[in-house]
Amino acid sequence: MTTSPLAARKATLGYGRTVISEGLSVDIPEGEFTVIMGPNACGKSTLLKALARMLKPSHGTVLLDGKDIHHQNTRAVARRLGLLPQSPIAPDGITVADLVARGRYPHQGILRQWSADDERVVGEAMAATDIADLASRGVDELSGGQRQRVWIAMVLAQQTPLLLLDEPTTYLDITHQIEVLDLCAKLHREGRTLVAVLHDLNQAARYATHLIAMREGEVVAEGAPADIVTAETVRQVFDLPCRIIDDPESGTPLVIPSVRATNLV
């Protein structure tokens, strides 16, 4: 088994009295692009929030490098693990360069506000996400796809080996979804460990190197897409009768939902 920089151990997760997952254990394998998927309300975003220390398990622990993430200095954690939440807020009128520069927060201090390193890393993050040309533009003038790349650049400026992305493609049209996923794949190839929550099963199968399928707060299947995306698993996870064929573009599994009797009424 590969080493796991980030893991949940018998974690009970929920909001207030509502329990979403009980005794959940998950290992995020190092160097993989892990995608967490499942139907609505299956607990996939909750798991991601717990892994990102936004949600504290009521029982059990989340381990970062083998130690309880809630017992570590939060700024030190922020230098190991970056997070792109579902709906981040861009302050009115902020420029692209300014927003990306916010990613340097965990590396800065009251008397260390802008080092030469900060300058260089922010430049590199903008170059890597192909937004250097937009540096002085206002974030609110950008298209949805560009804006998402700006947010990813901000997380990259954090310089973390681990990246967590909560539904990075939601609200984007198909072209921008692919653009963002291609960028994620590139970041993964460069050696980062990625964890993303995605809605689209076929996109998950195409881009992930490791899949975690969840249903009702539990992990139903886990492994390489080629191994676990089967008609049986899809029925188990989504209640969806389907056929699986090879994606003619990428060779990864492609889910084709069956034409059901109910659809013909």
């Binding site: 030190a76 981040p88 902020i94 520069a101 916010r102």
Partner: protein, 354 residues
């Protein structure tokens, strides 16, 4: 405007001062706004000291200041004007900071001690002092501070644990404010007409007759607040990106928010206790400062603008209407209210500042 060959402009519009491992980033627009409001404040303060019911002129103010003026001039300056001016500056700065903190915490342009009930809490304290104990200005000041602070802590206690979004804070604040308004109304009906008049006068907010002791008290609150904010401001700035993003960046969101809420409550308590609830200063100052600094926020600028508003309003109050001086709170209320309406009209099309 943008070309592919342009160099990476990660620190555009800012000057970075570096020394060894230390670095300070000065954003040009923020720097200009801070220096500009500081210059305006100094000019206004000098003008304020020189004018009034007796016009001294800058020259006589200067001689009185360095101890070479006439007895009369020195009395006017050191006993009548400077304590009032100093109190106004400190009160305005406290309110500007409190308003900026509350707007940041609630992520709402209306977040202010007035809306959240802190002012009502201070009023309850002051009314208890005036009506129940019939007591002096000192006790009134103390109880007003206690009332305001207690309200801040109550709001914090009621909002903790749950969904910590800005709306919750605002709604709880409005609820607490409504309850306290009822209590205040009850207290006013239970008193004599003379005490009721004194109470209403306090409720309007005024700076007349303040001495250096009071100025020093607010000044101490201000200094403590500035120190805390210096350490909080970077985290608060990250919180403007949303709580999830701030957590991801390594901000201790809970601790930052509690510290900011307590600090804002103390600042508001100090200011309201000494000057009464000068309406709208805490609301308007951060908006005007934001207009000056653009997308970056500056607590310092908000403090300076708050001091500017109170000083200017107090000069108008002293000049008065028809030869009679006004309570300072009347002026801040009228001017601030007009500003708020203008703000709402001007921003009808666009989402207001976050």
């Amino acid at each position: 405007m943008t070309t592919a060959s342009a160099p990476l402009r990660a620190a555009e519009g800012a000057t970075v001062l570096r020394l060894g491992g230390y670095s300070i980033r000065l954003r040009h627009r923020v720097l200009a706004a801070v220096l500009g409001s500081l210059a305006a404040l100094i000019a206004l303060a000098m003008w304020s000291a020189a004018t009034g019911s007796t016009s001294l002129g800058i020259e006589r103010v200067w001689y009185a200041l360095i101890g070479q003026g006439t007895k009369g001039d020195e009395f006017i300056l050191w006993t009548l004007r400077l304590p009032r001016l100093a109190t106004g500056l400190a009160v305005g700065a406290c309110m500007g900071l409190a308003g900026a903190l509350f707007q940041n915490l609630t992520r709402n342009p209306l977040g202010s001690p007035d809306l959240l009930g802190l002012t009502q809490g201070a009023t309850t304290g002051a009314l208890v002092a005036i009506i129940v104990t019939g007591s002096s200005l000192q006790v009134t000041t103390m109880l007003a501070a206690v009332g305001s602070l207690a309200t801040g802590l109550l709001i914090w206690a009621l909002t903790r644990g749950g969904d910590p979004s800005g709306y919750r804070l605002i709604l709880v604040g409005i609820g607490v404010s409504a309850i306290l308004a009822g209590v205040n109304g009850y207290l006013l009906t239970r008193t004599t007409i003379i005490d009721a008049f004194r109470a209403v006068y306090w409720l309007t907010g005024d700076l007349s007759g303040r001495d250096f002791g009071q100025a020093a008290a607010v000044g101490a609150v201000l200094a403590a607040g500035v120190l805390v904010i210096a350490f909080l401001s970077r985290g608060l700035d990250s919180l403007r990106l949303g709580e999830a993003t701030a957590t991801g960046l390594g901000v201790s969101v809970g601790a930052t928010r509690v510290t900011a809420l307590v600090t804002a409550s103390i600042l508001a308590a100090g200011a309201v206790a000494v000057a009464g609830p000068l309406a709208f200063v805490a609301l308007a100052a951060p908006h005007i400062a934001a207009r000056l600094t653009g997308s970056s926020r500056s607590f310092l600028c908000s403090a300076l603008v708050g001091a500017l508003i109170v000083t200017a309003a107090d000069m108008i109050a002293v000049a008065g209407v028809g030869g009679r001086q006004l309570p300072t709170g009347v002026v801040t209320g009228v001017v601030g209210g007009a500003y708020l309406i203008w703000l709402l009209i001007a921003h009808r099309k666009k989402g207001v500042m976050s």
